[in-house]
């Protein structure tokens, strides 16, 4: 929660600085290079996980059904948002949904990848919506975990968390879904984490 608030604070600080100051270099180019660094660091973090082999062995079809449910449910209902929001296409809304609470990466990716087709203005707007939507998802999954568990069962807090199921939301998942759900939550988080750049890019190209 502290991490989310710090990120939100930096975002708001950036907004405030942007309102009052201007820079004479391409800020979007800078964000791409920082994103490259982030991707390498995320890869290192994934690779140096001591339990990586144990997790790999625990993969079975049943465990894989949870991320499949997360992905299919999110895509289906994000597509519904595409019908409600006439300004954006179904695939734009699916690209936003496919961030799975990974607000930092998805928002920057969407802004960069949609710029050639939509133009910088609309791409930044969609990137902003992606950022806000994925922050809302993480916050809601964190705060609403007991309600999600009550109405949708033990696996729902994992699915609702998106990539957060492997880190920030693991404690609340353990509390409501039980300790047995931890390996499922971690595997779910890793697989969703890997899928984000792929699905966001895919829907941005459509």
């Amino acid at each position: 929660m502290k991490g989310s608030l710090a990120i939100l604070l930096f975002f708001l600080l950036g907004c405030t600085c942007g309102v009052y100051y201007n820079v004479d270099f391409d800020i979007h180019e800078l964000s791409v290079y920082v994103l490259y660094v982030l991707m390498i660091l995320l890869g290192i973090n994934l690779g140096c996980n001591q339990d990586l082999k144990g997790f790999a062995k625990s993969i079975n079809l049943k465990v894989l059904l949870v991320p499949i449910a997360t992905v299919s449910g999110t895509f289906l209902f994000s597509a519904v948002a595409g019908f409600i929001l006439s300004r954006w296409s179904i695939f734009d809304c699916m690209a936003v949904g496919s961030g799975f609470a990974y607000y930092s990466v998805s928002s920057v990716l969407i802004t960069q990848l949609k710029a050639p087709s939509l133009g910088m203005q609309l791409a930044t707007e969609l990137g902003t919506i992606a950022l806000l939507a994925n922050i809302f998802r993480e916050m809601a999954a964190l705060i609403g975990a007991p309600l999600i568990y009550r109405f949708f069962g033990r696996l729902a807090p994992i699915s609702a968390a998106g990539i957060g199921s492997a880190d920030i939301l693991l404690a609340s998942i353990s509390k409501y879904s039980g300790k047995e759900a931890i390996p499922i939550a971690v595997m779910h988080g890793i697989l969703i984490n890997i899928s984000v750049p792929f699905f966001v890019s895919l829907f941005c190209k459509m």
Partner: protein, 94 residues
């Protein structure tokens, strides 16, 4: 897309190779710092954009709709998976 996946895969190989080095586990803190910097840059680019700053409420409404529907969709799908594949006789078998 392939550049991002390639960089992530390269990082994973490096991480796996040096997983026994204790300092490499501090990468989590570094990730948090980079994400904060990235969000600062994103916020900065949004802050310089007068159109977006003047319509924040409008963006929040759209974001809330997509976030709400995404969570609802994944929760319903998770409920179906739980009912059909995980729940046997009222017991949880993860």
């Amino acid at each position: 897309m392939f550049i991002f996946l390639f960089l992530m895969a390269s990082g994973a190989v490096v991480g796996y190779r040096f997983r026994c080095v204790s300092k490499i586990h501090k990468v989590t803190s570094l990730i948090q710092i980079v994400i904060c910097f990235l969000l600062f840059i994103l916020g900065f680019s949004i802050g310089t954009n007068r159109l977006i700053m003047g319509n924040l409420k409008y963006f929040c409404e759209q974001a809330a709709l997509i976030a709400g529907l995404s969570m609802l969709g994944s929760s319903v799908a998770a409920l179906l998976v739980y009912q059909f594949f995980f729940k046997k006789g009222g017991d949880y078998e993860g």
